[in-house]
Symmetry: C2
Subunit: 246 residues, 2 copies
């Protein structure tokens, strides 16, 4: 499995992804699930991926080739006029890769080779946008009512996002929130594991810093992970006492 989250904040976008990949519990490895492209000053795009690794790597490679090889530049995510068109390109590529390996019976979204992606970014002069792309190639956008997206093993880390996310929060608080959400998931599910990749993207800063890799031993991550257990128990103790009903 995998765990990836993207937040749409008032000041920009924050992406986080784990790196564990496994084919059975005795075949475990680490792989990057976060890929970024940019045309400095003009556009910035980040893609997070969950699902079959052959599928998601093929999608990234095809998008890469199209943005590098001159004779194959159209359609390219680096030239599409809007983030919506970028999302269409990613969705179409994902659907085609899955279809290529689907059994010959016309099934278009075979679960085995499936994949799901989060796409976010900004093109100069337009708003930052965030999309969740399904294996069928269609997609939804993160709007004000649901300003974050998750893929992979989403359930363990969701309650804290639902309760503590605030679009006006700082990047530092957003990263802290994601640390808590990832720590809860990593503690509960062997198929999600460190290191963690982090990309912050400040709105209109179209030449953002490189993604950062955070090890399990990173002092900031450790402090949140170690502190959260005690903080949760303290929060629990603060709740009003319950008298046994009946």
């Amino acid at each position: 499995m995998t765990y990836c989250v993207a937040l749409r904040l008032d000041r920009g976008l924050v992406f986080m992804s784990d790196t564990r990949t496994n084919a059975g519990v005795d075949n475990v490895s680490a792989t990057r699930k976060m890929h970024s492209w940019s045309v400095p000053g003009e556009r910035f795009i980040t893609l997070l991926s969950a699902g079959n690794l052959a599928t998601t790597q093929a999608v990234v490679s095809i998008l890469d080739e199209r943005s590098v090889a001159p004779e194959d530049r159209d359609p390219s995510i680096l030239r599409a006029p809007t983030m919506f068109q970028v999302a269409r390109l990613v969705g179409q590529t994902l659907r085609e890769v899955i279809a290529e390996h689907a059994p010959g019976n016309g099934q278009q979204a075979d679960a085995t080779f499936g994949g799901t992606m989060i796409l976010g970014g900004q093109i100069a002069g337009m708003e930052p946008r965030l999309f969740l792309v399904y294996p069928e190639g269609n997609f939804i956008e993160a709007k004000d009512e649901a300003p974050f997206l998750q893929i992979g093993e989403t359930k363990y880390g969701r309650p804290i996002l639902v309760r503590a996310f605030d679009p006006s929060m700082s990047f530092e608080d957003a990263v802290k929130l994601l640390y808590v959400s990832f720590d809860s998931t990593i503690k509960a599910n062997l198929s999600v594991g460190p290191p963690i990749d982090l990309q912050t993207f400040e709105q209109d800063e179209l030449d953002p810093p490189e993604p950062v890799r955070i090890a399990a031993s990173d002092p900031g991550f450790r402090a949140v992970s170690d502190g959260w257990g005690a903080a949760l128990r303290h929060a629990f103790d603060q709740l009003p006492d319950v008298t046994l009903p009946g």
Copy 2:
């Protein structure tokens, strides 16, 4: 879906289950997923069930008949000599009911008609025991290393159990903990819903109180539900500040 939890505390057992049942989102109803049997002073048994409602109701009915109809009393969960034998009976009954409705291709654990159960109780002179019974009829027991069991939609409510459960806690704190775990799940998943059933069982009190039904409007549940959001945000604020890495 469903959410049921049982805790093995030093002082006894606590069971909680939701009541929502649905066949599609336009066919939603409430049903009891907690069933208790007792021979006052001699034994006490509680069963929680998740999965196909036809299957789990049939299992409960068969166990009920065997414990009521004189000519069919053996094997009966009210006469089995140990909780282990009770678990074997429940497992065997569950497996038989599933097999009866499985397609004729020899498949023994058809997911569609599957079910999973938590069984707990005590027989006089022995320790209280807690089991998780699988659709195949086999089961595992809650031991000191993993002293609580969940079935159904388990992921949203698991992190708080992992972090705050303590076998030495009071029944009141245990119920508060379960309120938090259930509230997180109910907020995240439409297929889990109130009212909630609660059974507390004090060790060696082999004539325990009846299960209690807790409405969404119950003041104790409301206080925990309303207070948890603020408590979580406070806990989050208490964590050490994060500096953006990189």
